[in-house]
Amino acid sequence: MSCSSVDLKAYLLGELPAADRVPVEKHVNSCAGCREELERLELTRSALASLGDEEPPQRIAFVSDKVFEPRWWQTVWQSGPAMGFASAALLAAAILVHAYARPAAAPVDTAQIERRIQSEVDAKLNAAVTRAVAAAEQHQNERVAQAVATAEQRFDQQYQRDLSDARQAVMYYQDRMARLTVASNNAARSNQ
């Protein structure tokens, strides 16, 4: 039996009578090419068997039907100048939209800025005033200390002068008292 006389499709689909199947089976067992062909057919049949049943289309149209005519957008899509014009229009529209639909700048809170500036100015002013007051206090303390030292020195000098005057006055009156005492003694002695 030759390979060309073997009907592998009928064998696979079970369409051969039982008497014809035996010689086919013997040939397939002895012929590697036919056996390989049979395996491919079996694979194809299995793949077809896995597909679901499809309903055949109920309407059949022709290419010349209006159904197959291109839509307007397909016409535009397929037209270079129209596509360029559309792109330019789209770009212009985007620019316009961007121009008019640009989000508005966030409102400036001037009061907050004023408060912040005021607080910074206050802080700097306070620091400057504090420094100035400290410097003034230091200067004032130095002047007071100097004035006190001068006053103490002047007071001490005046005290020394007063003390000297008082000592001199005491000695003066002591001398006068001594003189009077002697005169009194002399008078008493002469009276005796």
Partner: protein, 176 residues
């Protein structure tokens, strides 16, 4: 023996007499008081004021020395009732003292001469000295005025001056 004892007693008596002070203290005190009165009597108006008691001493081999302290023109002291002395008062006091200083020098020479005549016990070649310390308040201006005047001269010179035999200007005068 008795003659030796008598001679011994005589020698002791002479030695004791020589060792006895030549100037009796009573005489010195009398002279001191006399000086005080004389100084007070120099100026009748606003008299000078003798401060303290005049002192005197006899220094054997040198002579008699008299010392006193004098305020030529009494003025008020600084007190709580008279705390400030006006410049006019300072000037007035200074002027009075400057005017009186020459009169004081003259009076001191006269006193030295008079005192020398009273000091019989002082040998004639010994000195008679008179020292006057002048008193000034602290507030006073004593520019041109001395603090102390010391006059001295041998007794014989002073006695000669008393009788007109010598000039009082020969009395040595030192001022400090």
């Amino acid at each position: 023996m008795n003659a030796r004892r008598i001679a011994g007693f005589f020698v002791c008596a002479v030695a004791l007499a020589a060792a006895a002070p030549r100037m009796p203290r009573a005489l010195m005190e009398q002279l001191e008081n006399g000086l005080e009165g004389k100084f007070s009597a120099i100026w009748q108006q606003n008299p000078a004021e003798v401060l303290g008691v005049p002192q005197s001493a006899y220094i054997n081999g040198y002579g008699a020395v008299f010392m006193t302290k004098l305020n030529l023109a009494p003025a008020a002291a600084i007190t709580p009732f008279h705390p400030v002395v006006k410049p006019e008062e300072v000037k007035r006091t200074h002027d009075i003292k400057a005017q009186r200083i020459d009169q004081l020098r003259t009076a001191m020479r006269t006193m030295l001469v008079d005192t020398a005549a009273s000091l019989d016990s002082v040998p004639s070649d010994e000195q008679i000295a008179l020292c006057v310390s002048l008193f000034y308040w602290n507030w006073e201006n004593h520019e041109g005025l001395p603090n102390e005047i010391v006059m001295h001269a041998p007794k014989k010179l002073l006695l000669a001056a008393k009788t007109g035999g010598a000039d009082k200007a020969a009395i040595t005068s030192d001022e400090y």
